[in-house]
Symmetry: C2
Subunit: 340 residues, 2 copies
Amino acid sequence: MNEYKLALLGFGNVGRAFLELLTTKATEIKKRYDILLDLTGIATRSHGIVIDPGGISLSTAQSFVDLKSKTGLAHMDSVEEFLDHCSADIVVEAIPVNYLDGEPALAYLRRALQNGMHVVSANKGPVVHGYPSLTELAKKEKLKYRFESAVMDGAPIFSLWREALPALQLDSFEGILNSTTNYVLMRIEAGESFQEAIASAQQIGIAETDPSGDLEGWDAAVKAAALITVLMEIPALPQQIERVGITHLTESEIRAAADQGKRWKLVCRAKRVGNNFQASVQPEAVDSSSILFQVSGTSSVITFKSDALGDLTIIEKNPGPSTTAYGMLSDVISIATESS
Amino acid sequence: MNEYKLALLGFGNVGRAFLELLTTKATEIKKRYDILLDLTGIATRSHGIVIDPGGISLSTAQSFVDLKSKTGLAHMDSVEEFLDHCSADIVVEAIPVNYLDGEPALAYLRRALQNGMHVVSANKGPVVHGYPSLTELAKKEKLKYRFESAVMDGAPIFSLWREALPALQLDSFEGILNSTTNYVLMRIEAGESFQEAIASAQQIGIAETDPSGDLEGWDAAVKAAALITVLMEIPALPQQIERVGITHLTESEIRAAADQGKRWKLVCRAKRVGNNFQASVQPEAVDSSSILFQVSGTSSVITFKSDALGDLTIIEKNPGPSTTAYGMLSDVISIATESS
């Protein structure tokens, strides 16, 4: 039986869902993979830091958060200090994304690797802003950097390509990668105004207070850049992706398309062009002959074209914090079983 | 650099496509995985047997087959003898399926394992009729038994669950797993008679001279049984699956559905019920709100429901011998990299 100590960065919806899933699945993981996963540290922005080498239960974590104080059980001032003293085997990161430069997550992941810990990150920021340096650092330290949940939540995308599609060249992809815009467009089709649709998205917890990152296509562009960087092995920045959001669409345009049997979708497209790529994120009115037409609400979809398979499509229906948490857990198990 | 000798059983469309792909991808595989894959033996039913420890090129294999003689370069009478003397590391099997008992493929795979060779099989027969004993034998001999192409050709299904979805419990699935019926139904919708549609399917090489295995739902039932056996870990036989084929549908029924915006599909459904399962293969008229509606012609689709992810759908568009070959190659690479 191999034991792995986990340290969690961030304890929002996703972090909590991760601890819940870890608790639910512990027995099965022990039985099936002969590994013991113990959460021994949590570092948060608002609730301080807790370290307990004996293991932190779900109820302890919850009561710690409920204190709503800046100081947890461990008297530490910074995540950096936490990363230097948490003595975990795997750092699991789920803090808010920063589209611009991936910080501070990028620095945290780097520090974790430098301190000899594997890293699992649900964050797309570090993928687009630090993938080459993080993978190189991980390789040098004989550690792993995994980020399944960075795109399409828990749906297996990166692990699919890494583990199940060897020697396959990705030539292009297209898909719907942003839940918020897809949900907002569906609500407007159903009769809501733009404002109401955004409020609905905020109510179910998929849109931020400032939803412009989603609506202007930044989130989709960052995800497309992450996929190009990792799966096509061509470093890509979101700024290099032609980007048009959905804010210039009018409610009447959206409903007129619906009347004609079409649906507006914020579509990501990318293709390999020699050693480079061309990519765009922009609204398209698709008709019912397209798979994209079927994918509504918070669901997402991607179709891959490659050199040796026909079009391969993956659809993830109604993801949420618990599915993101599953993607993180799958990364943790993959690291633990490979290291055992 | 690790070298792996491959022996191929069967040299029909799939076997040939496999050797073509192996030849095309050799340099990339060498570079990326530091492994050398050499085909050193082929055993066929109609063209005899060839063994060449120095490696068999695509052109040699082709000219060997063109001889159309019962005797190849090696003077052997049986596949059994071939398996006893081919000295390969991995046996790659692509002979015709036998729905009833999986033979003779099952016996070949067993013999290959007993002789110390890993096995890759594109054959669903041995999966449903021998999965527990083959996996046990492989484990005992510290060898691998892989069969990615047995269901949905080269689309990653078994490897997805094995490698990318750890600790996930499959609760149910539904999908279209038989290309021939899906193609025949599409042609009838477009105006062909049942006879013409079957002839069309035979012309593009997806239907046998006797197409009843497809039309009566046996092929779909065997695939569903394979998925239940491996992914739900409940041994299932095709005979245990409620099965209705498409032959009782009339051309006018099929076209009437199309006029109402529906499409008949041969749908596989399976769900876990306690320690057992319930499964069926039967025609259903689905409307355009279903993902199944979109999947026409030779394409196939499966949607998985599990305990920790939302519905996860995989669609494979227009598969063929070359995509089946890719599934086999992905198994070979997976075995080689795990053993290196």
